[in-house]
Structures are given as structure tokens and as C-alpha cells.
């Protein structure tokens, strides 16, 4: 298993999350609305960042399935805030050059006439740098 | 004139229930520490009046250490918390007066920690010895 200490520290600093607080109850994953779309689930994000096994997360589509609905943050009994870790890993991925998940030329294909601007700006914020 | 080898003088206040017993255990296990350390038994570390510490320095002590039960283990439930707060204030004031922080210490030693007691005293005595004689309050000293 790859242990990426530098990235681990960076993610912890960026997110303000202490993954050691996790007591492995799985409530984050129990509450996650995007669970079935994810290869790595919220509790795994916490666990894998804690153990430094971060490369698989960086490459995973799971990063773009989190809805940022914060249900895991509010319901975690230990105050771990998994969504903040997911966000940090996602940023670590898309901040790399040419790693934008969403590009402007793809946008028109995704639109219908009713879609609110909010969806487009949000998607850009989440998926691109 | 004969130059006497410098030996630091260290006063250790130990609470009766944990640290004094820890010192006894160090003795039982024959764990050596410098003879410069002289122990005064108090019922609880919170019995140590800042006045006692000042008096020791005034009378020529080179270091003062106060040992009590670990937080949460105080025989009197909360005495060591008072100690921690009072001594933090006292030590920073002493530091301001020029009595270095290394000359003062509060340490938690349980009755089971003979080894810790000896190690603490060795370490403390070494640090104090390195600072040399404490002359700061000499002018206030009531010399006979």
C-alpha cells in the first residue's frame, strides 16, 4: 500500500478534518445519497486518508459523485466531517494541470433550457480549476 | 581560597499520596538521582504556597520542583489542578524576575512511577546544574 505522507498532511490541513476521530460506525456511508454511484464510500475516504492510501481516491470517479449535501457532516457522531475530506481530495485532483473534470466545451451538451445558472456555476466550482 | 565544586540545591515538594510514594518506589528500586534533591512532604501539591517557592529561592535554592498526582488522580480530587494554575502564574512571574523557567517545574508522578521520579529528578538536576548558581534573589537573602 502506498503511503503518501505529504499529500495526507496537505489534505488534513486543507480540510481541517482529523480522520483519527473516526470510530468506524459507518453512519456517513449509511446516510450518503450518492453511495451506490461511488466506488469509494465516505467512510473509506476517511479510512484511506488516515492510512495514507490516497492515490486510488485521486483517480476515482467517486470524487465527482459527492453531492456536497453535508448529510455525513451533520450526522457523524464524532464530528469527523467526511465531506470536507472528499472536497479536499477532489481539489487535490483537479488542481493538477489539465485535470479539470469539467471543461467549458462539454457544458452545452449537458444543458436543457430550464436548467438554472446555479447548477452550471456549481458544477464548475466543484469540477474545475 | 579553596573553590568549592558547584552543587545545585534543589527543593522538591512531593504530595503524600502519589509523588512521595513514587520517590519511595524509586528508593525501593535503587534508582539513583542526585543527592542535591531534597524532598519536602506535603499532603497535596496544592498545599505548596508560592511563598514556599519564593522562600526557597531567596534562601539559595537553585531549582524548585513540585510533584503531584496525575490530573484526575488527585487524592483530594482537584488539588493538582489548583497547583497547575497557581504555579503556571508563579513561574512566569519568576521568569520575568530572571529566575529561568528551567529552574521551576511541576511534574505529575504517580505512586507507581518510581522510574519516572528518578528520571525526572536526574533531568531536572542536570538542567538546573547547567544554568549554574542562582544568584538572582541574592540581595533579598537573609544571610546570617
Amino acid at each position: 500500500m502506498h503511503n503518501n505522507k505529504y499529500l495526507q498532511e496537505e489534505l488534513i490541513r486543507m480540510s481541517g478534518v482529523n480522520p483519527k476521530k473516526c470510530m468506524r460506525c459507518g453512519k456517513c456511508s449509511a446516510t450518503c445519497p450518492a453511495y451506490d454511484e461511488m466506488e469509494y464510500h465516505p467512510h473509506q475516504f476517511v479510512n484511506m486518508v488516515e492510512s495514507g492510501d490516497i492515490e486510488p481516491l485521486l483517480a476515482s470517479k467517486s470524487l465527482y459523485r459527492c453531492l456536497s449535501c453535508f448529510a455525513c457532516i451533520d450526522r457523524c457522531p464524532r464530528g469527523v466531517e467526511p465531506a470536507k475530506l472528499v472536497e479536499a481530495v477532489r481539489l487535490a485532483a483537479i488542481r493538477q494541470q489539465g485535470a479539470n473534470h469539467l471543461t467549458a466545451d462539454k457544458v452545452p451538451t449537458m444543458l436543457d433550457e430550464d436548467i438554472p445558472q446555479q447548477a452550471i456555476v456549481s458544477a464548475f466550482r466543484k469540477y474545475s480549476k | 581560597m579553596q573553590v568549592k565544586e558547584y552543587k545545585p540545591l534543589i527543593v522538591a515538594f512531593c504530595c503524600n499520596w502519589c509523588s512521595y510514594a513514587g520517590a519511595d518506589l524509586a528508593g525501593n528500586n535503587r534508582l539513583a538521582y542526585p543527592a542535591d534533591v531534597k524532598i519536602i512532604r506535603v499532603p497535596c501539591s496544592c498545599r505548596v504556597n508560592p511563598m514556599f517557592v519564593l522562600r526557597a529561592f531567596q534562601r539559595g535554592a537553585d531549582g524548585v520542583i513540585i510533584c503531584g498526582c496525575h490530573p484526575g488522580d488527585c487524592h483530594y480530587t482537584s488539588g493538582n489542578y489548583y497547583t497547575r494554575r497557581r504555579m503556571a502564574a508563579l513561574f512566569s512571574m519568576l521568569d520575568y524576575l530572571g529566575i529561568e523557567k528551567e529552574r521551576t517545574r511541576v511534574e505529575w508522578v504517580s505512586a507507581a512511577e518510581g522510574a519516572k521520579f528518578a528520571a525526572t529528578m536526574n533531568d531536572f538536576a542536570e538542567k538546573v546544574a547547567a544554568l549554574g548558581e542562582n544568584k538572582r534573589l541574592e540581595d533579598l537573602r537573609c544571610k546570617k
Partner: protein, 262 residues
């Protein structure tokens, strides 16, 4: 009473109703919404990363303008509210972040002094639901209405502090105040799918459907929301009961709906 108002980008385009009815109704309730000058889009989502600074500047500028007028800042779109309130909280609690932000802020520093209200909080805490009740001219008596909170209004609760995040009542009390019967259902604080509608319409569909089904099973004849994206997702994904902005019902209840040309 005058308050600063941040409408947000969607309310100027696809969700004009939400905005226009909000202003008219506020006027009828004795509150003037003063639109922040030169506001910029809040960005739609708040980045929880502490080193994301640039994306939060527009919110801080809006907050600072409200502060300069010594007014609370009122928002009506759930997303704007979430972003601005979380940004304000970060400015109050994260010194390192705040100092970075203030490097980019002209004329002095901002440290989170503005109070941020959602329009619903304004109704509940400033106007008062009892006061609102007195001003209702068209009652929705007998109408069974389900409130849809989504996630942005309530979470994270440690920052938003609007209501009990698991069993909120601020919208239900609003529904009661305009004479209708609130329908309580468990999925009212679950996510509609949000911006994932772009990336994975299937996931948005699944999430939205669960909300609609749950509301209908509880007997809802109509769903109200404060979020354009929630409304879009619910309608797009097969809501067969009306999904409307709460401000529209408010304007109608207050008898000011017809004055508008939304």
C-alpha cells in the same frame, strides 16, 4: 425596516419568480430589500477547503457592503444563503483564512460582523409568523403543502443554525401561517441531487424521485422550496404535483401576486 439583499444569479434569470415575489411580499410586510450594488455570483457552492480564497471573495464583498450600511444581509436562494453564511462563518472563526481574504478586500478589513438571514428566518424572527398571519388576505386553507428544505438551508447545522436539521419546522410554520396544512415527511431534508444533474442525471433523478414519492405518500398536493436547483430537479424528474417557490405562495397569500409582472 431596510435590509441588504443578495438576489444571486439564478434569481435574475431562471428563477425570477423567487426574486420578484420576495421583494413584493417583503414590501407588504414592511421590509425593504435593498439590493447590494454590483453583487457578483456567489459561486453556487461553498468550498470547505480552507485554502480556497478566490471563490469566496464575492460573498465577502457583499457581506462587507451590508456591514458598511449596518444592515443584516438577507438572501432567498438556498444556495446563495449557504455560501454566504458559511463564508461569513469562516471569516469569523478562521483567522488565517480571514487574513488571506482581507488582502483582496479594498478599504479596510471584514471580520464577519454582518448578520446573515435567510428570507424565511426574516419572516420567522423579524416579521413574526403571527404578524404574517394577520396580513394574509388569500388563505390557503385546506391545501396540503409539503415543505422541501433540501440540504443547503439546514446543513451544516453548526454554521447554518436555522432550525433542527433533522426535524425542521420553519417552513411548516410558514405553511401554517398562510393558512395551509403542512405535510411532514422524512425526505424533506434529503438532497435532490443538486448540481449532479449536470454530471449524472440518473443520480439526480433517483434522489429527486425519492423526495417526491415520500412527499406524495404523506399526502402532499404541492411542494414548496426556496432553491431554484431543487425546484428544477424535482420538476425535471417527474414531479406530478406543483413545485413552487415559497415566495410565490407568500405573495399570493398577501394579495400582492397580481401586482407583479413576473
Amino acid at each position: 425596516m431596510k435590509v441588504s439583499y443578495f438576489p444571486g444569479c439564478t434569481l435574475k434569470n431562471k428563477a425570477k419568480d423567487l426574486d420578484v415575489y420576495a421583494r413584493k411580499s417583503a414590501e407588504a410586510l414592511g421590509v425593504t430589500l435593498e439590493e447590494i450594488e454590483n453583487w457578483q455570483c456567489c459561486g453556487g457552492v461553498f468550498s470547505t477547503a480552507r485554502d480556497e480564497v478566490a471563490t469566496k471573495l464575492s460573498s465577502v464583498r457583499a457581506l462587507k457592503e451590508a456591514a458598511s450600511k449596518d444592515q443584516p444581509l438577507v438572501t432567498v436562494c438556498s444556495a446563495c444563503h449557504n455560501v454566504i453564511k458559511q463564508t461569513n462563518h469562516a471569516m469569523q472563526t478562521d483567522k488565517e483564512f480571514a487574513s488571506k481574504v482581507n488582502n483582496y478586500i479594498a478599504d479596510g478589513v471584514y471580520e464577519g460582523e454582518t448578520e446573515v438571514y435567510h428570507y424565511l428566518e426574516m419572516l420567522r424572527d423579524v416579521v413574526g409568523y403571527d404578524e404574517l398571519k394577520k396580513k394574509v388576505v388569500n388563505s390557503f386553507k385546506g391545501k396540503k403543502i409539503a415543505a422541501y428544505y433540501g440540504c443547503l438551508l439546514l446543513r451544516p447545522n453548526s454554521v447554518m443554525k436555522m432550525d433542527d436539521p433533522e426535524n425542521p419546522s420553519i417552513m411548516e410554520d410558514f405553511i401554517s401561517a398562510i393558512g395551509a396544512t403542512p405535510v411532514v415527511y422524512a425526505k424533506r431534508n434529503e438532497c435532490c441531487g443538486g448540481y449532479i444533474a449536470m454530471e449524472s442525471p440518473e443520480l439526480a433523478k433517483k434522489s429527486s424521485n425519492a423526495v417526491i414519492e415520500n412527499a406524495k405518500a404523506a399526502g402532499a398536493e404541492m411542494i414548496i422550496t426556496a432553491c431554484p436547483l431543487c425546484r428544477y430537479n424535482l420538476i425535471k424528474n417527474g414531479a406530478d404535483i406543483p413545485v413552487v417557490y415559497f415566495t410565490e405562495l407568500l405573495a399570493e397569500a398577501l394579495g400582492v401576486k397580481e401586482d407583479t409582472n413576473a
